[in-house]
Amino acid sequence: MRLPRPWTKKRGSRLLGGAFSGAIGEAMFLAGLFLLGVFALALALFQRYGRARFAVPGGLPEGLLVIEMSTSLLGFWIIVVIATALILIGGVGLAYRLLRIGTSDERRNVFASRAAAIGPTGGDITQLPAVPGGRGATESPGLHQTYRLANDGTDLARGVIAVAALALLWNATWFVLLAVVVSGFLHGRPRWVLGFLLIPFAGIGWWALRYFFDALKRSAGVGATIVEINDHPLQPGGCYTLFVRQAGRLKLRRLRVALVCDEQSTYRQGTDLQVDSHRVLEQIIHTERDLTIDPHRPWLQELQFSLPQQAMHSFQSANNAVCWKITVSGDARPWPSFCRSFPVIVHPPVGPPRRHPR
């Protein structure tokens, strides 16, 4: 018999002890929580109402009774809230645990699927099972091709906003502290410690401002990237036309447009949630070296590419995914390199009738 070792790190969802003893232990723990909650609630109710009932006929002075009840009111409600939480956690957890004992995984999954189908999106049968909808990709018509693809959101602008917030808040605080120090000198009560602390704080503020301006230059220099495609969703073996427009004020060592397929897995390692990614396919659609882009002459290119015949379709489940995307990446000078992703959906060979906006 293996003794449980609670101090060792639990890896993934593997069990250290037996499944049966684990279920019994969990049920006992939850039942203990439930009973503790009931006991605490009963004790609090009895202490409050039982004592009040006995105290009033006892003839205590009126002022003393009021003071005693008002000071214990907060404690009473704290105990009631904690006891109710214990009862709920223990009761619901125990019921869930007991339901799991007599039911197979498949039956529970069917119940969960039926419950999910009751919702407002349950009637959407045009959605392929386990294939992401990708509606956002077809909502925006393009100028040169049928659809304009949406960026996956890892835009530089977000980083700039975060850095700007840090720099401005830090420096605003620094100036407030500076005002306090100056007013101390003016009123003859100098604050030397605070004054000396302002020197390193100023260094941090200067670093934050420089970082902010660098990020701003990077964001402003690398202009908008527009990717349009003639058809969406994609099908394995299909040939597609891509229109790419890169704006900005850039000197690029290399600009690359690629079709990329990634596997993504989410797993638990102990108490941490880890995400791993593996690049299954990177098909270079276009590469161009040593090019200059200015705001009046954006880089425009119409490209053709075909999806491999045996390509896996896009897949999305709770912990795993197969993601397809078009990436536009550039080695910029003097700005750092950039890479922008435009997710696309690949359907399995059999698909629902397509919707065409034109």
Binding site: E106, N109, N319
Partner: protein, 141 residues
């Protein structure tokens, strides 16, 4: 699909059949039951001792079977037996779901229903049904 119960042991109280896919690999397992049917004791008592329990469903166009680096998608038929005073037993028959370019009459074609099995199914390379836990005496599928 068909399963046959042996006559040597006690008749199970409940028999659950399901067609499902699950993931294997580095990520946590995902499982989705496409088709499920539960045969209670009264259903099983109506069957003759060697009568095969036949069932079928139309498979969806996705997710297709996949063998990747971090992720593998497996389809299987799973039969679970609940017998009196025995631990439950599970049998699993893997198969591959592959895509073919077939026109669809309507989008509702892939909803799970009791129909003949889809022709796009190919048997998995792994031979024979897998029996995962300890087998209860006298029952066989």
């Amino acid at each position: 699909m068909a399963c046959r119960l042996g006559s040597g042991g006690p008749r199970p109280e409940v028999l659950e059949t399901s067609v499902l896919w699950y993931t294997e690999g580095k990520g946590d397992e995902d499982l989705h039951v496409h088709w499920f049917r539960r045969f209670c004791e009264t259903d099983l008592q109506l069957m003759a001792p060697h009568q095969a329990l036949r069932f079928g469903c139309r498979l969806p166009p996705s997710p297709l079977s996949y063998d990747g680096t971090l992720l593998r998608i497996r389809w299987c038929v799973r039969v679970r037996l609940f017998e009196p005073e025995q631990p439950e037993a599970m049998y699993q028959l893997p198969f591959q779901l592959v895509g073919e370019t077939l026109p669809l009459d309507s989008p509702a074609d892939w909803t799970a229903s009791d129909q003949a099995a889809d022709p796009t199914v190919r048997p998995a390379p792994r031979p024979g049904p897998q029996r995962l836990p300890r087998p209860p005496a006298g029952s066989r599928v």
